[in-house]
């Protein structure tokens, strides 16, 4: 039996109030805040800097909600309610640490920043967010779209009481078992989006950004989407690579920069493909042929998709395909509040595109062929199904629209409109949602369903090749990657097998990364450097003793010459020496080497000590200075001067011995 639950426009997000005791510096810790391997949220503590790596919003839990229809739907409102079948909830964010202590957030691509307003707003966050320009602009569009989808649907009422623990207990099925639903949050507002995005500082690939002088971070092209990046987090002696959502396939973005990942101490690996068994090229072919088949039969094609990303490749593919498939007259519609912006923005990021597209800009021509599709009226874009679209709409047609979860956005309307006819086809291309769950509330459904998930991110084969290439000392990854998928437990090729084995993490886990920090950079000022006297101690190795004053400022250390002490005014009262505490003077250098007997005897002679009786012992010699009644024991690793109360003699002997030894 299905249970009734209508939750309007309430979207997930997870925040718990548990805080974690502060962690000492000089250690590298990694906190994992998200269990979703493709929507990561990790926090790295490195040299007293707290760095959040991505903040993806896991929207799979919207599958627990009823679709939000744009047009009043008698069917949906009569539906006895629906909840997802398996009821598992990928909960998004659990807080192990105080968000206000986060110094910086590094964003790797626009899909991984959707939770940004939840982190930066109303939490006391005062840090900086770093992202590339395409990531910021397209991320803004996606957030704007999400807000728009939520806000344009008038909500009759919004329930919040159900989040109360007592009431939740009474709720049916999977919701009852859902963990921490009280931390699910409402969708953010545009105002919050703008405020959050105003904290973003733009960076370019390979730009070196200094954080507090302690750490340097730098984004690298990851090849997955426009402006997508992996990050290098390093100091002079340690290097952490954060690999998230990377692709080695030739699609529109700039190719992945692999060589800069070399020599990493730790490589954090997230965002692998969610469809390890689906070949993107094959899926693209299937997409095209199913599309053509439906159109030829007089049906419509619905493609639920995000407004940026794979859609550019789909359009490019169709651009080449429609002539040959004789679809020249079929209208293509792209409906989203940000459709126009997304198409326009894609054309202006030449610097972030693959070489092929870059050279088009030099001609100058728009890098993406969808410009031509728009010019020739084959592709039309509309902000929503209302307005111009309703009057210009012709069937059969192809519609690209969101949201891929089928729970909100214009896609809901098309499901209602086309679901009843078996002529129509819905083609799923986004891998983020289970298509069966997505379709559940629309059942029974007559329209054809085709599942062609296109996920260009790294698969396990590519990852192991990559790791062989860049050879990190340690690999850290979500635990899901260390075992085969539950449904295909025999496929040992669908997991990471590495030597040494990767360090797995799960949601809310805290890892102590295997780092041994041993060195730090310090700068010797020119004046001091000139005063150093190096001496060669072994061929090719020289030593110099350094006495200097250490200045540490903004995590930068410099060594300066010791200033000459100011002349002490002679004090009138002499304190009794005996009461004076020990004065800390320059410590004596360490000695090394051995005193050669013959040379030492010669030197003694030069200083007027002639009556020396030498006696050989097991470890060296004992010199008896007969006139002075003094013994000098010379050994490989030591010299012992036994001399009774004769301070001047002792000093002389000491200096003579020191001449033969190396001082460190």
């Amino acid at each position: 039996m299905l249970h009734v639950l209508y939750l309007s426009g309430v979207i997930l997000l997870f925040v718990s109030l548990k805080t974690f005791p502060s962690v000492s510096s000089f250690h590298v810790f990694q906190y994992c805040l998200s269990g979703h391997p493709t929507l990561p949220c990790n926090v790295l503590k490195f040299k007293s800097t707290t760095i959040m790596l991505d903040c993806g919003l896991d929207t799979t839990s919207v599958l627990n909600f009823l679709p939000l229809p744009l047009v009043h739907s008698p069917r949906l409102s009569k539906l006895p309610g629906w909840v997802s079948k398996d009821g598992t909830l990928n909960l998004e964010k659990k807080e192990l640490l105080d968000l206000s202590t986060i110094d910086v957030i590094l964003i790797s691509n626009y899909h991984c920043m959707m939770a940004l307003p939840y982190i930066t707003e109303h939490t006391g966050f005062t840090g900086t967010v770093y992202a590339t320009e395409p990531t910021l602009q397209i991320g803004r569009l996606l957030m704007e779209e999400l807000v728009n989808f939520m806000e344009r649907v008038p909500k009759a009422q919004s329930a919040t009481c159900w989040k109360n623990k007592e009431i939740q207990r009474m709720l049916p099925g999977p919701l009852k078992d859902a963990v921490d639903v009280w931390t699910w949050k409402r969708s953010y507002s545009m105002q919050e989006v703008n405020s959050a995005l105003s904290k973003v500082q733009l960076v370019g690939y390979s730009q070196k950004v200094e954080l507090f002088g302690a750490v340097q971070v730098s984004p690298l092209s990851s090849g997955y989407s426009l402006g997508s990046s992996n990050w290098i987090i390093q100091s002079h002696h340690e290097k952490v690579s954060y690999v998230s959502g990377s692709s080695l396939l030739t699609t529109h973005p700039q190719p992945m920069d692999q060589s800069s990942l070399k020599n990493s101490d730790v490589l954090i690996l997230t965002g692998l493909t969610q469809m390890p068994t689906a070949n993107p090229d094959g899926m693209l072919g299937e997409f095209c042929s199913n599309l053509a088949m439906t159109i030829r039969a007089g049906g419509n094609v619905l493609v639920p998709c995000y407004s940026s990303g794979v859609i550019y490749d789909l359009l490019e593919c169709l651009y080449q395909f429609i002539e040959s498939a004789n679809l020249g007259t079929t209208p293509f519609y792209f409906i989203s509040p940000v459709a126009n912006s997304s198409l326009e923005f894609s054309q202006i990021f030449a610097e972030w595109l693959c070489h092929n597209k870059q050279s088009k800009v030099y001609l100058p021509e728009p890098p993406f062929p969808h410009a031509e599709l728009i010019q020739t009226n084959k592709l039309k874009h509309y902000p929503s199904i209302h307005g111009d679209f309703s009057s210009e709409f012709r069937q059969p047609c192809v519609v690209f629209t969101g949201h891929p979860s089928l729970r909100f956005g214009d896609v809901v309307h098309f499901m209602e409109l086309w679901g009843k006819s078996s002529l129509n086809t819905i083609i799923f291309t986004e891998p983020d949602f289970s298509y069966l769950d997505a379709l559940a509330p629309y059942q029974p459904l007559a329209m054809k369903c085709v599942y062609c998930p296109i996920d260009t991110r790294l698969n396990f084969h590519q990852v192991s090749k990559l790791l062989k290439e860049v050879q990190p000392l340690h690999v850290v990854c979500p635990e899901q990657y260390t075992q085969p998928p539950l449904t295909q437990s025999h496929r040992s090729d669908l997991m990471l097998e590495l030597q040494p084995p990767p360090m797995p993490y799960r949601r809310c886990s805290v890892l102590n990364l295997p780092f041994r920090r041993r060195y730090e950079r310090v700068y010797i000022m020119p004046e001091l450097a000139n005063s150093l006297v190096p001496s060669e101690i072994k061929p090719g190795i020289s030593l110099a003793t350094v006495s200097a004053v250490l200045h540490s400022k903004d995590n930068k250390h410099t060594l300066q010459s010791v200033p000459k002490p100011p002349p002490v005014p002679p004090s009138k009262k002499r304190k009794r020496v005996i009461e004076e505490p020990p004065v800390v003077l320059a410590p004596k250098p360490l000695l090394s080497g051995a005193v050669p007997l013959e040379a030492f005897l010669a030197t003694l002679q030069k200083h007027g000590i002639t009556e020396v009786k030498v006696e050989e012992t097991a470890d060296g010699h004992i010199l008896h200075l007969q006139a002075e009644d003094t013994l000098i024991q010379l050994e490989e690793d030591g010299t012992h001067i036994v001399c009774d109360n004769n301070e001047p003699l002792r000093t002389t002997l000491r200096d003579l011995v020191l001449r033969f030894l190396q001082k460190l």
Binding site: E520, P526, L543, V549, P582, D637, C643, L664
Partner: protein, 592 residues
């Protein structure tokens, strides 16, 4: 024109490779024999960096790379890489195809030259080789103009190219972080001018154009195809719209359409306002400005024509100028700087009779106006950039000597840094004083920082001691103990022992204990321990007692200390003197 060679930390970099518009002979290209007399430059240059697409900054590039010979990397931004070959080709056409000159680069050479170009993104740190890194900053001036920061080790140079510190209608202002270069090489085209406010200049310009149109005159505005042209187009477009004017505005053909397309595709390089609104309305789609055709020049009635090139030295602008020069109702507005020797320069200097090719002369009757719309930094802007970057030395290029002299004085006075202004072919040497980067062992650093306390005390600086190990290219600073360990050396112990005899009838243990108690009372502030192995330690001085073999009442006191451990030999002798040695009898008496 600009072409600067920088040698820094053993690397040689060529900054810009410009040509001189005023010459038609060998002098138009830089004299590369300055670098090497024979042959190719590849071995002598590590890289070439082009700041922007103006020909006085990149015009000699194909000549240098293809005719003189250079195969190394050439760095420029994406827009520069896109636009530069078009301007070069355009320029080549004018010189070779129209003037019939030989000994000039060919189209193929331009293509081959561009293949050597590596595109540069803003703020991206490009590692040219292991030691040399460069980073580009936004410079305003024209689309894609960049300043570059060049760094080798701890030495660095910033080269500004041409830049503009005030945002205009289509570009943003130059910006650089506080990178504290050893030398800042800045252009100084407007070294003394503090230009009046931009709005005044624009109003002036519009007024002049308007007046001329009103009395039925034709207005010629010679411009570069890209850069000021777009700025003035935006200005006139909005004015026409507001005043509802009907007179046609033309833009000389060829480059126009293309040029505007570049602006649309590289919209990220324009100013914030244009970037924000480009989806709704692209500023580079003009309503009132149409493409020009040669025949329009003879049309009756008023019109405004933008024509290239900007200095009236050749091409369409010169043709139109010749046609219109005889009529005093017409006007030519020079919106930018003109190089000596060009017609633009001549008419700006008031010359009214021009000698043209083929001995003909041309009477200039039309109005000549100069309006500085070049987006160069003025004196105020240059000072502002110095404040931003905080260089240790300043070098002025690309300007007129007298004006530069004045600015030099001002810079030296205000910032107390050295300022140089080398003439063409002159070399300036600036000595830097770099600090030496060293890897300090974290143990040593942490120990030192813990001892130093959270805040340094300027009055009592703590002295840190360590050993610097120099091995191959690495410099490591470690504690002396660690240095010994790392080098596999044994420590050499230097110890001293001193004997003191006492008369004391007690047993050895008792004597030792009595010594211990006594020392404790006498030596305050010292650590004194009685150890179970029958020794007393004063700090690290070991005291042992043994009886003489002959006389059990004669006790021998052995004081032993190490050279390193006892920081103060003074201490040990003090103990000797105060406690025991100076008056054993006294001591003995006390003990007993």
């Amino acid at each position: 024109r600009s072409c600067i060679l920088v040698s820094i930390g053993g690397k040689n970099i060529m900054l810009d490779c410009g040509m001189h518009m005023g010459y038609n002979d060998d002098r138009r290209f830089p004299d590369f024999s300055y670098i090497t007399q024979n042959g190719r430059l590849t071995d002598f240059l590590d890289c070439v960096i082009i700041s922007h697409f103006h020909l006085d900054h990149c015009g000699a590039l194909p000549f240098m790379s293809e005719m003189v010979g250079y195969d190394g990397p050439i760095y420029m931004t994406h827009p520069t890489k896109a636009i530069c070959p078009i301007l070069l080709e355009d320029f080549r056409k004018i010189t070779v195809d129209k003037k019939g000159e030989t000994n000039f680069f060919t189209s193929q050479m331009i293509k081959d030259c561009m293949k050597k170009v590596v595109p540069l993104n803003l703020h991206q740190t490009v590692q040219v080789d292991d030691e040399l890194e460069i980073k580009a900053y936004y410079a305003g001036h024209v689309l894609g103009a960049a300043m570059v920061h060049i760094k080798v080790g701890s030495e660095s140079v910033v080269y500004t190219g041409d830049y503009n510190m005030t945002p205009d209608r289509h570009l943003g202002a130059a910006w650089i972080d506080k990178c504290r270069p050893d030398i800042l090489i800045s252009e100084s085209t407007y070294a003394t001018t503090i230009r009046d406010s931009k709005r005044c200049r624009e109003r002036d310009f519009l007024k002049k154009v308007h007046e001329s149109i009103e009395r039925g005159g034709k207005v010629l505005i010679p411009v570069f195809a890209l850069g000021r042209a777009q700025e003035l187009c935006i200005l006139l477009e909005t004015f026409w719209e507001r005043m509802n004017l009907k007179a046609p505005i033309y833009f000389s053909t060829g480059l126009t359409e293309k040029a505007n397309h570049y602006y649309k595709l590289f919209i990220t390089w324009t100013n914030q306002k244009i970037r924000k609104t480009f989806v709704q309305r692209n500023m580079f789609e003009f309503k009132h400005i149409k493409a020009f055709d040669r025949s329009y020049a003879d049309n009756p009635g008023p019109m405004v024509v933008f024509a290239t090139p900007g200095m009236l030295h050749a091409g369409q602008s010169l043709q139109i100028f010749k046609k219109w020069a005889g009529n005093e109702k017409n006007m030519v507005i020079m919106p930018g700087y003109c190089v000596q020797g060009t017609i633009g320069h001549k008419i700006l200097n008031g010359q009214r009779k021009l000698e043209m090719e083929g001995r003909s002369t041309l009477d200039v009757k039309l109005q000549v106006e100069y309006m500085s719309f070049s987006a160069h930094a003025d004196a105020k802007g240059i000072m502002q950039l110095i404040r931003m970057a905080e260089p240790r030395n300043m070098l002025l290029v690309h300007g007129e000597a007298v004006k530069m002299e004045f600015l030099k004085g001002k810079i030296e006075q205000e910032f107390s840094i050295d300022c140089y202004m080398p003439a063409n072919g002159e070399t300036v040497t600036v000595t830097t004083n770099p600090s030496v980067p060293v890897d300090i062992s974290l143990n040593l650093l942490k120990r030192e920082m813990a001892l130093g306390g959270p805040l340094p005390d300027p009055k009592k600086p703590r002295t840190m001691h360590g050993t610097l190990i120099m091995k191959e290219n690495s410099l490591k600073l470690v504690s002396s103990e660690q240095a010994l360990k790392e080098l596999g050396l044994n420590e050499h112990q230097l110890r001293f022992t001193c004997r003191v005899q006492l008369q004391d009838p007690h047993s050895d243990t008792d004597t030792l204990h009595r010594i211990y108690t006594h020392l404790k009372s006498v030596l305050k502030g010292y650590t004194i321990q009685h150890l179970p192995d029958g020794t007393v330690m004063v700090e690290s001085i070991v005291i042992k007692v043994s009886s003489s073999t002959e006389d059990p009442n004669t006790k021998v006191l052995l004081l032993s200390w190490s050279y390193q451990k006892v920081n103060k030999e003074a201490t040990s002798s003090k103990i000797l003197q105060q406690g025991t040695d100076s008056s054993p009898n006294h001591y003995l008496r006390k003990c007993l």
